[in-house]
Amino acid sequence: MSRDGPRPFSFYVLAAFFGLFVLFLYGPTLTILVLSFQGPQGGLTFPMNGVSTYWFSRLWAGLGVVDIWAAFRRSFALGLVVMALTVTIALFAGLAFRKGFLGQTPLFYTAVASLIVPSIVVSLGIGLEFRLIDEGIKAFAAWTGWGFLQDHGTVMGLFTSALGAHLTWTLPFGLLIMFAVFNRFNPAYEEAARDLGATGPQSLRHVVVPIILPSLVGVALFGFTLSWDELARTSQAIGGRNTLPLELQGLTTTVTTPEIYALGTVTTGVSLLVIGLAFGTFLLIQRRRARRVTLPGT
């Protein structure tokens, strides 16, 4: 266990195990990445029948009856909204928990429960809730006879029920990260800001947020990627127009060409791009900080 000296034999055994685990983790995804460049005559499995971007162009033209690009845009837009809301709500909730308030323990346990309760149950509940709201509106429309309510379809949708479903999944993660952040946060910085005459919002904007910015990037990463890939909680709470993961799940049983791999490559590409962006931002902030520390005069 010492930090120097020769490595014990167990190190090599465990390193090999770790290597196998990483292969297990990444191998399958890499396989479909390779197979998505299958030649036009190629099938769902190896061997590669030439190398081409044929299946990507097929994908670009659309997948039969399913408007995959509309689903793509919907999921992307929803991911951005979920990301923004997760960061904002989790940040302020983190600040609140730091100060302490009556009912903080029940709220904390609600957040944990939201993480642990099976997604299908949450999804069903939200679906039921919105259906009952629809029934209520329809009954109200029949009772009042107001014209503009008569054609009421459903309040269920991407930015109502599905957004809520995603937030029940992303917010607990955001909150837990904020706890970790504020557990280490030195309140002396804020006290110094206050002593210098900063108001609450000023100290938040110019002191607290810049210090915890890397962690906020982390929360944003969770917010977007978890929403982008979310399936179980959305399934019963979306109404007519599906998100990308839902379409993908449907396609697994109907599509029998490498188009689905091409779609997989594109979807994973978006995820990796966002992860890369988050890490890039994170490193950029760190580097800037390091520079500022070494040049105190500037």
């Binding site: 266990m1 930090r3 465990l14 390193a15 195990f17 990483v22 983790l25 399958p28 396989t31 479909i32 769902l44 499995t45 190896f46 709500i89 989790a90 600040l95 609140a96 928990f97 100060k99 302490g100 308030f101 903080q104 709220l107 904390f108 957040a111 939201s114 309760v117 099976p118 299908i120 149950v121 069903l124 509940g125 939200i126 039921l128 009952l132 809520g164 937030l167 029940t168 837990l176 990260i177 952040v181 557990n183 890397p214 962690s215 982390g218 990627t225 978890l226 399936l231 179980a232 399934s235 019963q236 993961p245 993908l248 799940q249 697994t252 689905i260 791999y261 997989g264 994973t268 992860i275």
Partner: protein, 317 residues
């Protein structure tokens, strides 16, 4: 970010009580009021999209329904339907068989993710020497968590299919003559995908627990003559219990309520509780689905209670 993610499971420190200095009383009160406003969005989201839906699910599970609508009239019929034939003895009823199948996936998935997750976390926490390298390896384990689960399931098709890589390799080596059926769309592929998708939920909390262990304790154990195995079993494993518990709760509840993995990897042929609910929803049998959801929720709560009891019991011994 890694440290934030790694310690994401830390419980909140109780906010220290504000000192009752007279001059600061107004400021303290103002801060308290502010805290309510700051926590309100979070509270409202959970109220609107978690607590009210759960309450409605429980209420609707006692409602009647027909082919066209749900009727707000009290009945226990939905629960009777869930457990239809369960008390008559003889063959197992559908519900028990479904839960038994889910329980099997739970046990297999839990044992495998715990073993793999612990080993991986142990390697990174205790055998990798530089902090930078630890961070990199930890991130390698967590990055797939941020990519799509469905894609990661589909990715097994070219490997496990009838003409997949595994069968081709085995035939090429002359180990088998005909392709092995049932690699894909079987219990095997479901368990494989469960391990593939959920091991990260074990690694993160266990790694977090391990990183908090004071390295002096390990040294003390070694100095006192403990073998590496003894150190592992008598020092590290007990200190990792909180991480193991959190990881276990996560993995078990995820498998319990799962319907996507079982659906996609089981070729839509294997039953699961989540799948039953999904099918009933698609037939607009909301009260029936709600009753099943309440039963599932109860099963999950019993599981968590049992797990926490187990841990507390051990602590007392």
């Amino acid at each position: 970010m890694s440290t934030a993610a790694a310690s994401a499971h830390a419980l909140p420190e109780a906010a220290p009580a504000a000192p009752a200095l007279p001059g600061l009383a107004t400021e303290t009160r103002r801060q308290r009021r502010l805290a309510y406003w700051q926590a309100m969005p979070l509270g409202l989201v959970f109220l609107a999209f978690f607590l009210v839906p759960l309450a409605l699910t429980v209420i609707v599970s006692f409602w009647e329904y027909n082919e066209y609508e749900i009727i707000p009239a009290f009945t226990l019929q939905n629960y009777v339907d869930v457990f239809e034939g369960c008390l008559s003895g003889g063959d197992l009823c559908t519900t028990f068989r479904t839960y038994l199948s889910t329980l099997k996936f739970c046990l297999l998935g839990w044992a495998a993710t715990l073993t793999i997750g612990f080993t991986v976390a142990y390697f990174v926490a205790f055998h990798v020497r530089s902090t930078a390298m630890q961070t990199v390896l930890f991130l390698i384990c967590t990055i797939p968590f941020w990519t799509s689960n469905v894609i990661r399931m589909i990715a097994w098709i070219p490997l496990l299919g009838r003409n997949g890589l595994v069968n081709d390799t085995l035939m090429g080596l002359g180990l088998i003559r005909t392709p092995v059926e049932g690699l894909l769309y079987s219990d095997f592929s479901v368990v494989l995908a469960i391990i593939h998708l959920n091991t990260v939920f074990m690694i993160v909390p266990i790694f977090n627990s391990m990183m908090r262990i004071d390295r002096a304790l390990i040294e003390a154990a070694t100095d006192a003559g403990a073998t590496p195995w003894q150190t592992l079993w008598n020092v590290i494993v007990p200190l990792c219990k909180p991480g193991i518990a959190i990881g276990s709760i996560f993995v078990l509840t995820l498998i319990m309520g799962d319907f996507v993995t079982v659906g996609v990897m089981g070729g839509q042929q294997i039953a699961s509780v989540g799948k039953v609910i999904q099918v009933q929803m698609s037939y607009l049998q909301f009260p029936a689905a709600a009753a099943n959801a309440v039963v599932l929720l109860g099963a999950v709560m019993v599981l968590i209670a049992a797990l926490t009891r187990l841990i507390d019991l051990r602590r007392e011994l």
